[in-house]
Amino acid sequence: MNSPEPSATLDVAASAVANSLITRTVSAWRVEFAVLAAVMIFYAFGQDYLALASTALVTAIFVLSLDLIVGYAGIETLGQAAFFGIGAYAAGLYALHVGTDPIIGLAVGAIAGALVGYLSGEVILRTGGLSLLMLTLAVASVIQEIANTATSITGGADGLSGYSIAPIFGLFQFDLAGKTAYFYSATVLIVGLAICRFIVESPFGLSLRGIKGNVTRAALLGIGTHRCLVAVYVISAALAGLAGALSAQISGVVGTDSLSFVVSGNAMVMLILGGVGRLYGAVIGAIVFVVISDQAASVDPKNWLLFVGVLLILAVRFAPTGLAGVLTALGRRMG
């Protein structure tokens, strides 16, 4: 029997290595690939709904920020809108007074969110339970009231508008059809998802899960629990600020309602609906919630919230681990 040519053997080995590398890459980044595939498929078939899709993607980033603290660190909050709104105002004010570059605008929104997250988190994260829940709500309410009162800066109840955003990287102009906004939001979501996954799979993420499981036990293992909680709160606030900035850039207006309890509450509903502590659950929950809300509002503009309420009750009753949990269970059952 003839032995194979050395070059052929090398080709086979190189091919095997390449296949293995591709398989591992796809496996490691499967959630990001799934989101990318969904984005491309939706673009192919749903071009009439790109504006709604962009809203869903921005909302998904915001809910992702909530999952980071609720799902992985056990920080209960009803005030996540504070960071979303701050990020939106920061990006809007930056575009109005400083510069129109969208990427810098995103960074400004994220930094503003992180700063407020740090200042509030250092204080309120020394509490827990109901006290913490009330304090998060109070922080958001205070910031909303400040935004409402400082009309010369924020536009008050009329909102902040009149700013323009330059083309992304000087190439992609925001268009009326919403194509640029759609792909811009999708890119930010995928990057945000990858960053969040990197965080939760790191030793820091493991410490957070330990803190969520038993904060005293985690401290007795030498984990600086307060520092870890503040750190993840700041990261989450930065991500929420980023979502807010994105929203401000896409919609061209920032209102005080972006800081409201309704925004925080809805985000929590979306997270529960999608599945807490899974990251992709936040994405699924946000998209399902936005689409169902839109459809319900078009069917019955007055009572559409009823649909959402029923949906939440059904989700909690029949899918306590959220839609992501149902999908995971189905996946396991199908082998």
């Binding site: 030793p203 493991l206 330990g210 499981g213 036990r217 401290a219 007795l220 293992l221 629990t225």
Partner: protein, 248 residues
């Protein structure tokens, strides 16, 4: 590397109510001490005080040359204290691997060593913490404390609720740990006979103060003391456990 642990005139308790009153003790580096006494005399309170989890009114706690009393609990843990808690307190949503990884600090004990020490745990390494038997949880609790590579190991009722065969496994593991790293250890245990067999020194607490301290072997022979201070009968019938172990 083990270090000595000293407690001087410690008064501590829950809020304003003191449980320990002027308690002093010293455990030499590499030595082991059993803390004995009736229920409610302050045995667990002593461990919680050392770890900074309850209010310290006065006194000092020293690990090697390091004063601990002003340190937060996580800093005391980083300084080299590790607790194996009475309720085990395994992180339920983390796997066995992750329960060890979250605690791992640089030193001679790693997850691989723990799996060598407890082979049954290696077979469950991907199980979640709440999917383990009581014995496996206790193995993991001990392993998790060891991978922090502490100077002093504090054990709070480590044999409680365990089957005799698992007690033997844990005792053998403690002996192996002692042989390998010579850890200073404090053992709070209501099974007096077992505690005295596996420690070098013993201390009896009563009403929040140390009322007797000496060699464990000597105390094992003092049935009068055991009867009056711990509540065992003169024959020590309650303490007969069968298995004999060398001191750890």
């Amino acid at each position: 590397m083990s270090k000595p642990l000293s407690v001087e005139a410690l008064t501590s308790g829950y809020g304003d109510v003191p449980i320990l009153t002027g308690l002093s003790m010293r455990i030499e580096a590499g030595s082991s001490m059993a803390v004995l006494g009736r229920n409610g005399v302050g045995k667990t309170t002593l461990l919680l005080s050392i770890l900074g989890l309850i209010t310290q009114h006065s006194g000092s706690i020293t690990l090697g040359d390091l004063r601990l009393e002003r340190m937060l609990p996580f800093r005391r843990a980083r300084s080299g204290l590790a607790l194996v808690p009475q309720e085990r307190e395994i992180f339920p949503s983390l796997t066995v691997d992750e329960n060890l990884a979250v605690a791992q600090r640089h030193g001679q004990w790693s997850a691989t060593d723990i799996y060598e020490l407890f082979p049954p745990l290696a077979r469950r390494r991907r199980n979640l913490g709440d999917r383990l038997s009581g014995g496996e949880q206790q193995m993991l609790a001990l392993g998790r404390a060891l991978v922090t590579n502490p100077h002093v190991l504090l054990l709070d009722e480590p044999f409680e609720g365990l089957a005799p065969v698992i007690v033997d496994v844990i005792v053998e593991a403690l002996q192996a740990v002692r042989k390998r790293s010579g850890l200073t250890s404090v053992l709070v245990e209501h099974r007096t006979d077992l505690a005295l067999e596996i420690t070098e020194r013993a201390m009896i607490l009563d009403h929040g103060a140390a009322v007797w301290e000496g060699a464990s072997q000597a105390l094992a022979l003092r049935t009068d003391l055991l009867a009056s201070l711990i509540g065992l009968d003169a024959t020590g019938a309650e303490t007969k456990q069968g298995t004999k172990h060398a001191a750890v």
